[in-house]
Subunit: 431 residues, 2 copies
């Protein structure tokens, strides 16, 4: 069955001399006396359409959706060397006058205004490009992991207990039971490793009921979660994260060069990622930058300084911070063998901002129960999770990457909301 004979704008050069149907949005229209010029935009690009006679009489608002029929001719007046001599012009959907001018190099509107009119602002070339990159980033990520024997899993976001327990979870009534929105697929991805899949990943939303309104937090975000079994040590997990990022960065470069050019972003090759223990990082901050760190962690400012230091010293955008103490890591984190006050855990900083937490997990049930108790948690409240360790789960570890966070840093965006089509923060659930 032959449907629409629509030609995409990127294909126009192959159809010179022929009559074609183009469809898209009116990016610009200039109607002079006898002749008009309509710049048509579809998802693949823009093309100039020349309007004469009755085609030039129609009054058309910018951003209206049109269907134009005409003959493609060669010209040296346009960038792509082609223009359409219009025979028929039909308005498929008319646009109202716009709340702000969208077809400029830079949009002159604040972020809130852009987010309020999201369908419009997303049409801007630079804003649109962000989400094409995001889409391909996820594809590259999934492709690499599949090649490496990982199974993509789908685990519930309705849970009976927040993974990390306690605060910062959204709660709701689920058929007369209390339920929570999952803060992470942590327990479930570990269980799927133990269920015989060994290597799993998930791409799904997670929820944090935190009342921060910062430029780098969202209350709902997409988590890229990875968990792998039969590891010898946490280094294997870090190596896997390095490799998946290398592949994904290269994948985006290969498939989104046009978008990266639009966004003026250059993606460097990822070489070896330097490592530093948390103690070393804190000491460096103290000595070189006269900065104190919070107990067992880095703060935003500290992350920035370490990021700069590593960039200068090693030319790397990335650095692994390792060996966080047990006090600041979750109860399922594997203690370090040599110094059990510490853990086999890591954060990954990218351009001076944390994008991952990861580590090896405790895989023996007795140790796990002891660790819960040490943290003051009641193992009975995590029964289903802990019970599954009775059937033998291999040594394993993993990590999670916040998609919007890494895209924000990847594309040098100023605010994480720019990396979310419809961001959710404390004030915003619309649109």
């Amino acid at each position: 069955m032959e449907f629409s004979k629509r030609v995409l704008i990127s294909e126009c050069e192959q159809h010179i001399g022929k009559e074609v149907i183009l469809k898209g949005w009116v990016k610009k229209i200039r109607q002079l006396g006898k002749v008009g010029f309509l710049l048509l935009r579809d998802r693949t690009g823009t093309v100039q359409c020349v309007l004469e006679q009755e085609q030039n009489q129609l009054k058309i608002e910018t951003e209206s959706v049109v269907r134009v029929t005409g003959v493609l001719v060669k010209t040296d007046k346009t960038a792509n060397g082609v223009e359409l001599q219009v025979n028929e012009l039909i308005v498929l959907a008319e646009a109202d006058p716009l709340p702000f001018e969208i077809n400029k190099k830079k949009v002159n509107a604040g972020l809130d205004h852009l987010l309020n009119h999201r369908v419009l602002s997303l049409r801007h070339e630079q804003i649109n490009a962000i989400f094409t990159v995001q889409s391909m980033f996820v594809k590259g990520f999934a492709e690499f992991l599949t090649k490496e024997g990982f199974t993509r899993i789908f685990t519930p976001k309705i849970v009976s207990q927040g993974a990390e327990g306690g605060a910062n979870v959204f709660t709701f009534n689920y058929f007369d039971k209390n339920a929570y929105l999952a803060q992470s697929p942590q327990f479930y991805k570990q269980m799927m490793v133990g269920a015989g899949f060994e290597r799993v990943f998930e791409i799904a939303p997670v929820y944090r009921a935190e009342e921060h309104n910062s430029s780098r937090h969202l209350n709902e975000y997409t988590s890229l979660d990875v968990e792998m079994g039969f590891i010898e040590n946490v280094e294997e997990v870090m190596e896997m994260e390095k490799q998946v990022l290398q592949y994904t960065f290269d994948y985006v470069k290969e498939h989104c060069q046009k978008q990266l050019d639009i966004l003026k972003v250059e993606i460097p090759v990822i070489n070896d990622i330097p490592q530093m223990t948390l103690a070393e990082a804190q000491q460096l901050l103290k000595k070189k930058y006269q900065k104190d760190s919070p107990e067992g962690d880095l703060n935003t400012e500290g992350e920035k300084c370490i990021g700069n230091y590593i960039k200068e010293k090693y030319g790397s955008d990335f650095v692994f911070i390792t060996n966080y103490p047990r006090t600041t890591r979750p109860m399922y984190t594997m203690p370090n063998k040599e110094n059990p006050v510490l853990t086999d855990s890591f954060d990954l900083l990218y351009k001076g901002s944390e994008i991952t937490s990861g580590g090896q997990r405790i895989h023996r049930q007795a140790e796990l129960i002891a660790s819960f108790k040490e943290k003051g948690l009641n193992p009975d409240e995590f029964k289903a999770y802990i019970d599954s360790f009775a059937y033998a789960i291999p040594p394993h570890g993993g990590f999670g990457i916040g998609l919007e966070r890494i895209i924000m840093k990847f594309l040098n965006l100023g605010n994480i909301r720019e990396a979310s089509a419809f961001p959710r923060d404390c004030d915003r659930i619309i649109p």
Copy 2:
């Protein structure tokens, strides 16, 4: 850096004569007088390990996680022609005695019991295979759509209004606002079409607060959503659905033959999908089967009869039911031009069960507002959605497929819970 030198069981034949490290679960163990046989399972298969001397003294529970070192030798006593002469056997994690025998052809336990002990039951070859197929099904689905110019999107599940409005939504408190869990990404995928992406898809959870406890409903499930702009008619949407299913079925056949064999499932080639209007289907049910249908819809029994009829008459597992009346379709559905009591909508039945709803959508704002009002809905409550149509959204349509539902039918499972790793129904949020 060289980490674990673990060899996967599927690779054993390439290492005959060499000493290797294998890791996995103890599927079976028989310890005779002088010699023992341990059947080791990893994610790629099973291999026989021969234990002698002190290796044969260890008491090991079935399903324990072990690491074995030994020499791979040729043999004609095993199916894959190889066995491991064990030099070292280390238990990495010990299993408790099991609540049911997992290493039989058929597991002798009810579905509830299997779901309660999910980490264990998922290790059974037949159960495990379901989720490998699911993973690859999603990969094939995404791959086809990307090739066809679709952008993968991520839209919020925390929303200010359920897409279809009204009942059957989970509600919760979101920073002193009322919020809902999205029943579908319907509004957002339409908005992303209008935002210039034209063709989008999403793979994400959706939520239905329906109090049914049937064998084919879940309260949280994964929705495969597709929406495409610049269509001429709803036929294009149905054609796209046919093509994506063709590709995905072939993809699974190509990548999961081993799992399909384990599950004893044969996947037929999808040819043209027959179509039938709802009126025709209802008439057929009345005349041929003496069955009444609900106003403007089919019931479960009706779907089954139509499925059988189509299979017999056309040899097809699929049938599109078209032209549902406006009364039973959502307010955003495009009315039929020739008979505006009907809509340009469809359901897709697969093996006698609905797996898709789809259709063309209203794309002009004035018509959309009128349709909301006709349905007794207040357009002000859907302001952000309706407002976005002021900026001109092209003619468009799409569909959604319930992942667990299609996998259930695809693999001939008796209950949709079998197609969910951790199903959520009215009674179950654990594990």
